[in-house]
C-alpha cells in the first residue's frame, strides 16, 4: 500500500496496462517528452518509448480519428484530449464516429479505445477550460462514461476502461490531480458500472461524481457533527453503465435523495437519476429529490465567483439540512 496522488495514479494506471498488453498505445498533445501539461503522464515516454507514447500536433480530430482507426484494426489506444472543453472541436468522433460504428456496421466494427481528458473546474481557468462535460458524452448511445474520484479508482477504473471492448470516455478531474489517497500494491482492476457507497448513513442519500464526492463526504461529516444528520454518500464512478441498483437500494433505506453535480443544471446526470428514482422508487421517498448543481452559466474565472458557482461543502450541507427541516 502506498499513498499516491491522483496524477501519479494516472501514470500508474497507464503503465500497468501498457506493461500488460503491447497493443495498448498512447497518443496526445505534450504527453510524451513533456510528461503532460498536468504532469499526469510523466515517465511513460521514457518507459515505453516513442513508438507507444506518441506526441501529436494540436489536432484533436486527428488524435481521436487516429485512435479510432487504430482501435478498429486491432490496437487498444488511449487518447488524451488535454481539456475536456476541447471535445467540442473533435466531437464528431465522440458523437458520430466511434460511438456509432458498431451499430451502423451491424457489429462489424469494434472500437476498444479510451479517451482520457482533464475535466472540471476549480482551477480558475475560466469558461473554456473548466467545464464538466460528462453530460455531453452520457447522452450518446454507444459510449461508456467514467469519472473517478480517488487515486485508487483512477488505477482500477482506467484498467477496466482499457480492457473494455467499447469506447470509454475517462474523465479525470483537474482539481483532483494533487489530491492523495492510498493505493494497494500490485495490479488493480475495477469494474465499470459499479457505484460505491463511500460513506454509509441512514438519513439521506447524496449521490456525487468526481470532485463532488470529497465535497459531499465533507458535507456529510459536517451535517453529522453539527446537526446529527447521518448521510449516505454514493460515488457514481460510472455514468454509463449506470449502477442504479446501488442508488435505488440506498434511497430505499434513507428515503431521501440529493444529487451533487458540477455540471450546469440543464440536463445534468442528476436529472436522469432523479427520474429513475421517481419512476421506480417514488413511494420510498419521504420528500422531493433535490439536485444541487452549478447554475445554468458559463464558469467565471475569478476565484470568488467560481467558488460560489460550483457546489461547495457548505452549500451541499445547507441544502440537505433545509430539506430535512433540521
Amino acid at each position: 500500500m502506498a499513498e499516491l496522488t491522483y496524477r501519479d495514479a494516472v501514470v500508474r494506471g497507464i503503465a500497468q496496462e501498457m506493461t500488460r498488453d503491447p497493443d495498448v498505445v498512447f497518443l496526445g498533445e505534450d504527453i510524451g517528452k513533456a510528461g503532460g501539461v498536468f504532469k499526469a503522464t510523466v515517465g511513460l515516454y521514457e518507459q515505453f518509448g516513442p513508438l507507444r507514447v506518441r506526441d501529436t500536433p494540436i489536432s484533436e480530430q486527428a488524435i481521436l480519428g487516429a485512435a479510432m482507426g487504430a482501435a478498429m484494426t486491432g490496437l487498444k489506444p488511449i487518447a488524451e484530449i488535454m481539456f475536456s472543453d476541447f471535445f467540442a472541436v473533435c466531437f464528431d468522433y465522440i458523437a458520430n464516429e466511434f460511438s456509432k460504428s458498431r451499430y451502423m456496421s451491424n457489429g462489424q466494427v469494434k472500437c476498444p479505445l479510451v479517451v482520457r481528458t482533464g475535466n472540471g473546474g476549480g482551477a480558475r481557468f475560466g469558461a473554456q477550460h473548466s467545464q464538466s462535460v460528462e453530460n455531453w458524452c452520457m447522452m450518446i448511445p454507444g459510449l461508456k462514461v467514467v469519472a473517478p474520484s480517488s487515486p485508487r479508482d483512477v488505477v482500477g477504473l482506467l484498467a477496466a476502461a482499457v480492457r473494455d471492448p467499447d469506447p470509454v470516455i475517462f474523465l479525470e478531474h483537474k482539481s483532483l490531480y494533487p489530491t492523495k489517497g492510498e493505493v494497494p500494491d500490485g495490479e488493480i482492476l475495477d469494474k465499470l458500472g459499479t457505484a460505491a457507497i463511500v460513506r454509509p448513513g441512514k438519513d439521506a442519500t447524496i449521490v456525487a461524481l468526481a470532485m463532488m464526492v470529497p465535497r459531499a463526504v465533507a458535507a456529510a461529516e459536517k451535517l453529522k457533527s453539527e446537526h446529527g444528520i447521518d448521510c449516505e454518500v454514493i460515488d457514481v464512478r460510472s455514468l454509463v453503465p449506470l449502477d442504479t441498483q446501488t442508488i435505488l437500494g440506498s434511497v430505499g433505506r434513507t428515503h431521501r435523495l440529493f444529487t451533487v453535480e458540477e455540471n450546469p443544471r440543464l440536463c445534468g446526470w442528476g436529472a436522469e437519476i432523479v427520474s429513475i428514482v421517481a419512476d421506480e422508487a417514488f413511494y420510498d421517498l419521504d420528500g422531493p429529490p433535490v439536485r444541487i448543481t452549478t447554475p445554468h452559466i458559463p464558469l467565471p474565472a475569478a476565484d470568488i465567483l467560481e467558488d460560489i458557482a460550483l457546489p461547495s461543502v457548505d452549500r451541499i450541507a445547507d441544502r440537505v439540512r433545509r430539506s430535512l427541516g433540521s
Binding site: 480519428g65 487516429a66 484494426t73 464528431d92 466494427v109 449502477d243
Partner: protein
C-alpha cells in the same frame, strides 16, 4: 483543369505490359459492375425501392477500379457516403450492396447503416463515412496500427473535392506526413462540392494537389477517367507507403454524371458540360483500350452480359428478401450485443 485527352497507344504497346491482360479485364469488369449497379440503384430509387438517400458514382468508375485493382488482399478502404463504387470494387457481392440500399435483411449491415455507411470488414472496406473529412484521420489510425505492428497493408482513403476545405483534411495530411504513415489519400475531384463548383469556394485551382506542398508531399494529378492511369499512380503510392516512405495525396480528375444525391437534378451545371465529359466516359475509354490491345469483342461483350445478368439476379434476390428483423433495433450498440446502459 488537368489536361485530359484520349491517349494513343504506342505502336509497340503490348497487352502484357506493366498492367497486363488479367488486371485490365478485371478493371473493366469492376467499372461495368459499378455502372450497372449504380444505374440499377437509381432505377430502384425511382420505383421507391431504394429509400432514404443515395449518392451515385456514375462517371467516376475508373477511380474505384484503378485504386482497388492496385490493392492487395488485406489493404483497407475508407470511403465516403459516395461509397457504393469503392465497396463493389473490393469484391463485396452486389446483392449485399443493393440489399442495404433497399433496406433488406440481406444488406451488408442488414439495414442498420444504409447507403451512406457501407461497411464490409471482411473485404477490407472499413466503412463509408457521411461526415465530410471524418475518415481521413481514421485511415491514419489504421495506418498507424500497420506501422506499429510492422504489417505491410496500406490504408486507402477516398474523398471528394469538397473535403479539402474542412479541417480534418488538413489535420490528417499533416499527421500522416509527420508520422510517415502508410496511408494514401485519393481525392476524386468531380468539380462540384455538392451543388457549388469547387473552384468558386477554393483558394487554389487544384483543391487537393495544390495543398500537397504544405505537407511536404508531391503534387499529383491524374486523369481519373482512365483506369490505367489511376492504377499506375495508385500502385506507385501503395509501394511507397509499404516501403515506409509515408503517405501520398492523389487528385483524380473526374466527373459525376448525376446530381450530388438523389434529391439533386444538377441543374447548376453549364449546358454541354455533361455531354463533353461523357465523350470521355471511363468505360468507353477502357473498352477502346481493350480493343486496341486486341481483346476480342466477344470477350468484352461477355463481361458486360455477365455483369448485367448478375445485377439482375441481385435485384430480384433483394426484391424477394425480407426486411430486417425488428430485434435488430437494439443490437450491437455495445460489445455485449445489446443496448443496456444501466442495471
Amino acid at each position: 483543369m488537368a489536361k485530359i485527352e484520349d491517349r494513343e497507344l504506342a505502336p509497340n504497346a503490348s497487352l502484357n505490359d506493366d498492367i497486363g491482360e488479367e488486371t485490365r479485364l478485371r478493371m473493366y469488369r469492376i467499372q461495368v459492375e459499378i455502372r450497372e449497379a449504380e444505374q440499377r440503384a437509381f432505377d430502384l430509387f425511382l420505383q421507391n425501392l431504394v429509400k432514404g438517400t443515395s449518392h451515385l458514382s456514375l462517371g467516376q468508375e475508373a477511380v474505384a477500379a484503378g485504386c482497388a485493382a492496385a490493392m492487395q488482399p488485406g489493404d483497407l478502404s475508407f470511403c465516403t457516403y459516395r461509397g457504393h463504387a469503392h465497396t463493389l470494387a473490393r469484391g463485396v457481392p452486389i446483392e449485399q450492396v443493393l440489399g442495404e440500399l433497399m433496406q433488406r435483411d440481406i444488406g451488408l449491415m442488414r439495414g442498420k447503416g444504409g447507403s451512406m455507411h457501407l461497411t464490409s470488414v471482411d473485404h477490407g472496406v472499413m466503412g463509408s463515412y457521411a461526415i465530410i473529412g471524418a475518415h481521413l484521420p481514421i485511415a491514419c489510425g489504421a495506418a498507424w496500427r500497420a506501422q506499429y505492428k510492422g504489417q505491410k497493408d496500406v490504408s486507402v482513403c477516398f474523398f471528394g473535392d469538397g473535403t479539402t476545405n474542412i479541417g480534418a483534411f488538413h489535420e490528417a495530411l499533416n499527421f500522416a506526413a509527420v508520422w510517415k504513415l502508410p496511408v494514401i489519400f485519393i481525392c476524386e475531384n468531380n468539380l462540384y462540392m455538392e451543388y457549388t463548383p469547387i473552384g468558386d469556394v477554393t483558394a487554389v485551382q487544384h483543391p487537393a494537389a495544390d495543398r500537397a506542398a504544405s505537407y511536404g508531399l508531391p503534387r499529383i494529378i491524374v486523369d481519373g477517367n482512365d483506369a490505367d492511369e489511376v492504377y499506375r499512380t495508385a500502385l506507385a503510392a501503395y509501394k511507397k507507403a509499404r516501403a515506409g516512405e509515408g503517405p501520398s495525396l492523389i487528385e483524380c480528375m473526374t466527373y459525376r454524371y448525376s446530381g450530388h444525391s438523389r434529391a439533386d437534378p444538377a441543374k447548376y451545371r453549364p449546358e454541354g458540360e455533361l455531354e463533353k465529359w461523357k465523350e470521355r466516359d471511363p468505360i468507353k475509354i477502357y473498352r477502346e483500350r481493350l480493343k486496341q490491345f486486341g481483346i476480342a469483342d466477344s470477350v468484352i461483350a461477355g463481361i458486360e452480359t455477365d455483369v448485367k445478368r448478375r445485377v439482375d439476379e441481385a435485384t430480384e434476390k433483394c426484391k424477394a428478401a425480407p426486411p430486417p428483423s425488428l430485434d435488430l433495433l437494439t443490437t450491437d450498440v455495445y460489445a455485449d450485443g445489446g443496448f443496456a446502459w444501466r442495471n
